[in-house]
């Protein structure tokens, strides 16, 4: 029996599998990777959600959720990766994101025979696909399916509720304070706004359009959501800046909100929480009486 376990574990160490990542790149990975580096905070969250954090040996700066992630060794920030740190942690697998991780670094890791599995989440559906893919890669398909089903359930619930709404309030989602930056159609925040039953006043082909105050006044948003890593004091200041313009419906009705940006801009299972939050901000009337 001991011999059998030894043989099996030996096989597990030496066996390799060829996988295709979500960009269609083929790579060879050990069949059970146990030294994984997450090259973006969102990947860290996904690995933790799959309860495989014991297999993580490195994360990037700003990997702050869950709290335990912050205690893992850092390999630079996701746009400015520290190649030497990555190599010194002897990873058998890196998981990266297409938007953010520089292609140069991914190419160099390939040259150094460190497999990089790249994902490319573009919205809620592809977050679920990403979960399934990483679940498959780490041999925890069942856990991934469970998470996906839970996400789908919560999304369906929000959408059913929002369907009863009579209006589609105009939402201005501000992710940059100075300059004023919002989110266009090719972002997942846009998708969240639409699914939450709102209309994104900044929709358009630019991902992160910049606005002047005057343009925002002209768009007459009913709701302003400000997400920022900035502190509460700064939010108060931004809020009082907007409050000088009572002609904006959002100002007139006191519907300016500050939210944690991590719930909206990280393609992780938590995006559903962002959706639920947004739906409550856009359609408070539909959620009355709910906890």
């Amino acid at each position: 029996m001991i011999l059998l376990i030894a043989v099996v574990s030996l096989q597990a160490v030496t066996a390799e599998k060829t996988v295709t990542d979500l960009l269609g790149r083929e790579l060879v990975v050990t069949s059970h990777p146990v030294r994984i580096i997450a090259l973006a905070p969102s990947i860290t969250e996904i690995v933790f959600a799959l309860e495989q954090e014991n297999r993580l040996v490195g994360v990037t700066q700003y990997s702050d959720f869950p709290e335990a992630a912050g205690r893992l060794p850092k390999v630079g920030s996701y746009v400015n990766l520290d190649l030497e740190r990555i190599v010194s942690l002897r990873p058998d697998l890196c998981i990266g994101v297409k938007d953010g991780n520089p292609k140069d670094v991914v190419d160099r890791l390939d040259d150094l025979d460190i497999p990089v599995y790249v994902v490319n989440p573009k919205g809620l559906d592809s977050v679920m696909q990403t979960l399934a893919a990483i679940g498959g890669l780490l041999d925890v398909q069942a856990k991934a399916d469970e998470l996906i089903a839970a996400m789908q359930l919560r999304i369906d619930r929000v959408e059913q509720t929002v369907q009863q709404a009579e209006t589609r309030p105009r939402v201005f989602f501000q992710i940059g304070i100075s300059p004023i930056v919002s989110v266009g159609t090719p972002t997942f925040i846009h998708e969240l706004i639409v699914r939450a039953g709102g209309r994104n006043v900044a929709e358009g082909s630019f991902a992160y359009p910049r606005y002047s105050r005057e343009q925002v006044l002209g768009m007459q948003p009913d709701v302003i959501v400000i997400t920022s890593m900035a502190r509460f004091a700064i939010f108060q200041q931004v809020k009082s800046d907007w409050e000088q313009w009572p002609d904006i419906p959002a100002v007139k009705h006191g519907r300016i909100f500050m939210q944690d940006s991590n719930l909206f801009d990280r393609p992780t299972p938590r995006l559903v929480a962002g959706l639920e939050l947004l739906a409550r901000l856009v359609h408070p009337e539909l959620f009355e009486g709910e906890p």
């Binding site: 190649l83 953010g100 520089p102 630019f206």
Partner: protein, 335 residues
């Protein structure tokens, strides 16, 4: 210049060997220190050919640190040479590729190349070359004509060319929306970390011929420093030499900029230091400048890597801190 050839040869040899030693020490330091720890001892073991071959350490030293050190060395050597040649040709001790806006011109070309999605070599490098030639032509046009090459007018023209280049760079950066923006910004600040061994080989292939040209023409440089009339009297075709030297410098600067981004003031430090120690004979200065400049840049990059506790800062910050202080000192002394 009054020295007899054997004496001169000896001086060239000695200074070259000393500069080479300095360079090799910096390289050794450069491959010994990195974000995963200091491994000076292991490097010596490696060089001695013993010690356990830890494949991870091997990879870190030879495939991550060495290409970076070599890139820094080549960039430092070419920027220092650029400073030396400009200072001689323009007869201005404060001339330097970055201050004159030549690096900025190369950067504009390189950014356009990156935005068009071209490969580093030859696409981006070629665009950078066109950019640096354009700014060089603009600079020469502004300073030639009726006015003589006065010290202040050349520097002022350079400052203006540089300001214009910076504005164009900001314009290009601000109209860029996608993920390439990050790449451009990191590259602009002087990112030496993302180059593999193959690319350092390509850069060496571009730079070596330029270095040889400068070494062969080092005596010509001596004569041209004395002024157009005396150079003509010595039988030098000033116009042709000017073009050869300026074009080689442009090739060198644009190749360096397209690999390393904007690293300023490097061309000021080494030429001045070496002239102080070695005198003004370019036959001695050229080889010393190549190795000295290379070593200086490796040290600056090492500081940039080692000083911050988290991550690293761009090497351009270190070179500007040192170089700009020297510039201010030199400017004050000149007055």
């Amino acid at each position: 210049m009054n020295q007899t050839p054997p004496n001169l040869l000896k001086k060239i040899l000695i200074t070259t060997v000393v500069a080479l030693m300095f360079f090799l020490v910096t390289v050794l330091l450069g491959i010994s220190i990195g974000s995963s720890g200091k491994t000076l001892f292991s490097v010596f073991e490696w060089l001695a050919g013993k010690g356990d071959a830890d494949p991870m350490l091997h990879t870190i030293i030879w495939q991550i640190r060495l290409p970076r050190v070599l890139l820094a060395a080549m960039v430092g050597a070419s920027l220092s040479m650029g400073g030396l040649v400009f200072q001689a040709l323009l007869r201005n001790p404060l001339a330097e590729p970055y201050i004159l806006g030549i690096s900025g011109g190369a950067a504009i070309g390189a950014i356009i190349g990156i935005l068009l999605g071209l490969a580093r070599f030859p696409g981006v490098t070629l665009f950078a070359f066109v950019g640096s030639c354009a700014t060089l032509a603009l600079l020469l046009m502004m300073t030639s004509g009726s006015t003589i090459l006065r010290k202040d007018s050349l520097l002022l023209s350079g400052v203006m060319v540089n300001a214009f280049c910076s504005a164009l760079i900001m314009f290009l950066v601000s109209i860029t929306q996608d993920a390439r923006l990050h790449n451009i910004i990191f590259w602009l600040m002087g990112d030496l970390g993302m180059v593999g061994m193959g690319q350092t080989g390509i850069l060496a292939g571009i730079l070596l011929p330029c270095f040889i040209v400068f070494f062969l023409l080092s005596n010509t440089l001596n004569l041209m420093v004395m002024g157009k009339e005396s150079a003509l009297a010595m039988g030098i075709n000033v116009q042709v030499m000017n073009i050869i030297l300026l074009v080689s410098t442009s090739i060198m600067i644009s190749a360096s900029v397209s690999y390393s981004g904007l690293i300023g003031f490097v061309g000021l430090v080494m030429p001045h230091l070496l002239r102080l120690v070695l005198g003004s004979d370019h036959r001695v200065l050229v080889p010393a400048c190549i190795f000295g400049g290379g070593g200086y840049m490796v040290l600056c990059d090492l500081l940039a890597r080692a000083l911050p506790r988290q991550g690293e800062m761009p090497a351009g910050v270190v070179t500007a801190l040192i170089g700009a202080s020297l510039f201010i000192y030199l400017l004050k002394r000149a007055k």
